[in-house]
């Protein structure tokens, strides 16, 4: 019964994404300025989801259509302009290159140009928070050399989790730091945590994910809860009776934030507006992407099926 619901809702979110596929496209304004990065955010996050699904061997008609559309959008944009403008664009071009590679295509930009920007240290000229440094190391591992993966556990030590911050003091940004760190450390669920972390740290991280999921369950933030559940799946959190119950409770929360059309709202406050068709694309697309990944990966792996 649970499996059926998960598969059903996974299909619903994909339907909604396809229905709004055009809204993921890049829309350049004349005065691009520092807004350039924000204009490609939607399409790049869609590519992240599609790459993750492909790497978990999750396929289907709508996924193929979304992929075709994202490839078309990706080929139309001048990524060189973005890469040269903003040092944080390293992440973006890496995601784009990874998405194209996963579809057996070369990147839609000159790799040599990105290599040149890396060689002159352009991407490093930024004072980032530690999990964004992990982001850069992960991006460079995709584009320049797998050797950069070795930097991931080093930067991880400087993150909120690495600093062993007290659980009661986590901000929402700190929780995103943990979820993103898990994405990079596990290569979005393709590598075990212990590839880069010692067993003690990996065990502590799994326990912290459970605790943070409980904390967020008591709040109203579906977006970060979705990322926590995705991290939970990527980290293979122990399948105990208690963890299974908590996972199901959290999962039910995601399901309750999903409208019949398949959009997932970031907070329950927005649900009523979304149900009456008044929530904007910008308000719901990110949570819908995150939860689409959670539903699809859970439907495929079903590790905590009751």
């Amino acid at each position: 019964m649970f499996k059926k619901r998960v598969k059903h809702v996974s299909g619903l979110t994909l339907d909604w994404l396809w229905k709004h596929a055009e809204e993921f496209g890049v829309s350049l304004q004349p005065e691009a300025g520092n807004a350039l990065l924000w204009q490609v955010k939607h399409i790049v996050e869609l590519m992240t989801m599609l790459t993750t699904l492909a790497n978990h061997d999750i396929r289907g008609g709508i996924i193929s259509k979304l992929t075709e559309r994202a490839l078309t959008h990706g080929a139309e944009f001048d990524w060189h302009q973005l890469a040269a403008y903003d040092a944080s664009a390293a992440t973006v071009v890496a995601i784009v290159a990874d998405f194209f590679a996963c579809n057996q295509l070369p990147p839609p930009f000159e790799v040599e140009f990105v290599s040149f920007l890396h060689a002159i240290g352009f991407f490093e000229g930024m004072d980032r928070v530690p999990f964004r440094e992990m982001d850069l190391a992960y991006s460079l591992s995709l584009m320049i050399s797998p050797e950069f993966r070795k930097d991931l556990p080093v930067w991880f030590e400087s993150t909120t989790f690495g600093q062993r911050q007290h659980i009661t003091r986590y901000t929402t940004d700190d929780i995103y730091s943990v979820t993103h760190a898990v994405f990079y450390l596990t290569n979005f669920g393709r590598s075990p945590l212990t590839d880069l972390l010692d067993k003690e740290t990996a065990d502590r991280l799994r326990k912290e994910l459970v605790a943070l999921a409980v904390v967020v369950l008591r709040a109203d933030n579906i977006d970060v809860l979705g990322e926590l559940l995705l991290s939970w799946l990527f980290c293979d959190v122990e399948n105990t009776l208690l963890n299974r119950m908590l996972f199901h409770q959290a999962f039910e929360r995601l399901l309750s934030a999903t409208t019949p059309e398949g959009q997932v709202v970031p907070t329950m406050k927005l649900l009523q507006r979304a149900q009456s068709g008044q929530a904007s694309f910008a308000e719901v697309y990110h949570t819908t992407l995150v939860c689409c990944m959670v539903f699809a990966v859970a439907a495929k792996r079903m590790p905590y099926a009751g």
Partner: protein
């Protein structure tokens, strides 16, 4: 002559303004007033050995000690992660006040050792500065390694970016503080970026940044002769009218969620830097000290 005619009146004005700011924060603590005090503190902490700065620095240290004793600093530290850097700086400065007692730091030490503060996501350079200041107060805080990177790269490579804002100047102020604290882990400090910013400030007429950059270059990052003369001439042309502070930086934007900058603090810190730069020995700038009156 220079000190008497220009610097001294300017410094007296800054002292009066700073006194008001301190009183305002004490009577009604606010985010804005705290960041304004922080902006001034970042410049004053870098003026060791400049006699003209001693009055202002003493005011700041005494106020910091009062805020530490009253619990204001710990309240701020618990309230928002973005206050951590300035709290660490003021806690460090409080130690120089006559009224300071080592037990005043106990609560902040306990909060830090209990991992209740300063562990949230904070940009790397600021992490290192917080650790350095806390360490100077006997509070152990280790934020991990820097991967393959060093701070010189993080800072000097910023010159390749197509834009800059107040955050760029903040980066240089933080870097200078690290150099002063000798916590630079063996790196020599950037050269290219500070000097490029100084030239840019002169070219764009950014009279707010210019004296801060001149002070930083003269004391920390190197100040080649041709830049000294040009910087001094530009500063001379930007001396504000009597009783006025320097204007705020044009645009006054900041590309960071981790700090706030308002006009008041930036105008005050830059006017202090200007007054001190003009009061520095003439050989620093390599030009004759004949300046218009300012009183």
């Amino acid at each position: 002559m220079l000190a008497e005619t220009i610097s001294d009146p300017m410094l007296r004005l800054c002292q009066a303004e700073f006194k008001c700011l301190i009183q305002e924060l004490e009577s009604a603590p606010s985010r804005t007033a705290f960041f304004d005090v922080g902006a001034v503190a970042e410049v004053l902490v870098l003026t060791n050995g400049i006699p003209e700065a001693e009055g202002l620095t003493r005011m700041l240290c005494d106020a910091s000690a009062r805020w530490l004793k009253s619990g204001l600093l710990e309240d701020l530290l618990m309230a928002r992660v973005e206050f951590a850097y300035h709290v660490a700086l003021l806690t460090y400065l409080a130690q120089s006040a006559a009224s300071f007692s080592p037990s005043d730091v106990e609560v902040i030490r306990n909060l830090s050792e209990g991992r209740l503060v300063a562990r949230s996501e904070i940009p790397v350079l600021r992490q290192h500065l917080i650790a350095a200041y806390f360490s100077g107060c006997g509070i152990h805080t280790e934020f991990g390694q820097l991967g393959r990177r060093n701070l010189t790269q993080i800072i000097d490579r910023r010159v390749l970016r197509a834009r800059s804002d107040e955050f760029d100047l903040l980066v240089l102020l933080m870097c200078a503080q690290l150099l002063q604290l000798d916590r630079s882990r063996g790196y020599q400090g950037p050269r290219t970026y500070p000097q490029a910013q100084l030239v840019q400030a002169m070219r764009s007429g950014n009279t707010n940044w210019l004296p801060v950059l001149a002070l930083l270059c003269s004391r920390f990052f190197g100040f080649p002769g041709h830049l000294c003369g040009a910087a001094f001439k530009s500063m001379e042309e930007s001396i504000p009218a009597p009783g006025e502070l320097l204007p705020a930086p044009p645009g006054n934007q900041i590309d960071s969620e981790y700090i706030e900058r308002t006009e008041r603090g930036l105008r005050l810190r830059s006017t202090i830097a200007l007054a001190l730069s003009l009061a520095l020995p003439g050989e620093t700038y390599g030009v004759e000290q004949v300046r218009p009156a300012y009183n």
